[in-house]
């Protein structure tokens, strides 16, 4: 089986000291491989309630900006309105400037940990092109990407819980087929 990991991302000794024996499994290091950074842990790391509050703010912005609306997504993919394009066109530079400033200038988290984002592994790029297209098909149908699915659930569209369950099944199916798919 193809090893999908980036060569730089070897498993380091966990806090206990022992090297985990599952080294060669493709999922051996989720936090670096899929979840990117080595996050802040320990006493200076923010508690879960901080992330909950940030999530509340994000949910409010998603809902109030109507980017969770199936109608807005249709308007975007039919090139009939500017709203969604305006959101992306202002969100991307804001995020880019913020992330680049943090990486290059400030370099530290609130708790003083170094900020380091390991690069994504391009490989043949198949997973990004094919996986991305498959997600796009679902995005048009449900009118929602994963964040908006949860915001829609909160905003009272109860049946979206079925879409979320189905999305979990989709992710689970990917986990099942992973070793047989080209990446």
């Amino acid at each position: 089986m193809m090893d999908l990991r980036h060569p730089d991302r070897r498993r380091e000794a966990p806090e206990g000291g022992a090297i985990n024996e599952t080294e060669d499994r493709p999922t051996s290091r989720p936090s670096a491989e899929m979840f990117g950074t080595e996050p802040s842990r320990g006493a200076h790391a923010p508690g879960l309630w901080v992330y909950l509050l940030v999530g509340v703010a994000f949910g409010i912005v998603l809902t109030k900006s109507e980017v969770i609306s199936w109608f807005r997504i249709q308007e975007m993919f039919r090139f009939q309105g500017f709203h969604m394009f305006g959101v992306f066109a202002t969100a991307l530079p804001t995020a880019t400037i913020g992330v680049q400033l943090l990486k290059r200038r400030w370099r530290r988290t609130l708790g003083g940990d170094p900020i380091a984002i390991p690069p994504k592994h391009l490989g043949k790029g198949v997973r990004y092109a094919v996986g991305g297209t498959i997600f796009g098909l679902g995005w048009a149908l449900t009118g929602a990407c994963p964040g908006p699915l949860f915001a829609l659930l909160g905003s009272g569209v109860g049946v979206i819980v079925v879409a979320i369950a189905s999305a979990m099944l989709g992710t689970w199916t990917y986990g099942l087929l992973r070793s047989r798919l080209p990446h």
Partner: protein
């Protein structure tokens, strides 16, 4: 409070979440990982992709998503905008031609309701769309937030490919699958 927010307010706010999470705890902003964490929490079969400590890797992100649901309740129920989403007249006409006539709420009730779940159209949009979202984001290794915002903000080539593929898939979905679901 009850009005929707324009793109020039919402876009920059959405862009702030990637640097904010990085600064708070060296966390990479990305919602689709939660579908994986939820599968890992259930772990119906021992698939290596889900064989990691989901509390440690994903606890913060699941708290973030719980916040999104609460934010959806606040912005979509408590401070609900009573007006229909102000999409372009041309989009209304396009969707009207496909059989959508109820433009109240964030999503069309003619597609997203418990009653529609028993129809082929509802199944395609809710169950099929959800599955494609879950499978595609897992395959691509991120969604609109993880690739589209975080990855692009970190100037990652794979994320630019993924974002282009999201849009290509969305166009295909809009012009081929949505009409199928509304037939």
């Amino acid at each position: 409070m009850f009005h929707p927010w324009p793109w020039y307010v919402a876009g920059p706010l959405i862009g702030l979440f990637a640097p904010l999470l990085l600064w708070l705890g060296n966390r990479l902003f990305g919602v689709s990982s939660n579908l994986r964490h939820l599968c890992a929490a259930i772990q119906p079969r021992r698939i290596p992709y889900f064989g990691y400590d989901w509390r440690r890797e994903g606890g913060w992100n699941l708290a973030f998503v719980a916040g999104i649901v609460i934010g959806g309740i606040l912005a979509g129920v408590v401070f609900r905008n009573p007006e229909p989403v102000a999409i372009a007249a041309s989009t209304r006409a396009s969707l009207g031609a496909l059989g959508i006539h109820d433009f109240t709420g964030l999503v069309p009730r003619e597609l997203f309701s418990w009653r529609m779940l028993t129809t082929p159209g509802g199944l395609i949009a809710i169950v099929g769309g959800g599955f494609l979202v879950g499978f595609g984001t897992a395959y691509a290794g991120g969604c609109t937030s993880g690739h589209g915002i975080s990855g692009v903000a970190n100037l990652e080539v794979p994320s630019f490919i993924a974002l282009a593929a999201f849009f290509a898939g969305g166009l295909l979905g809009t012009f081929f699958l949505v009409p199928l679901a509304l037939r």
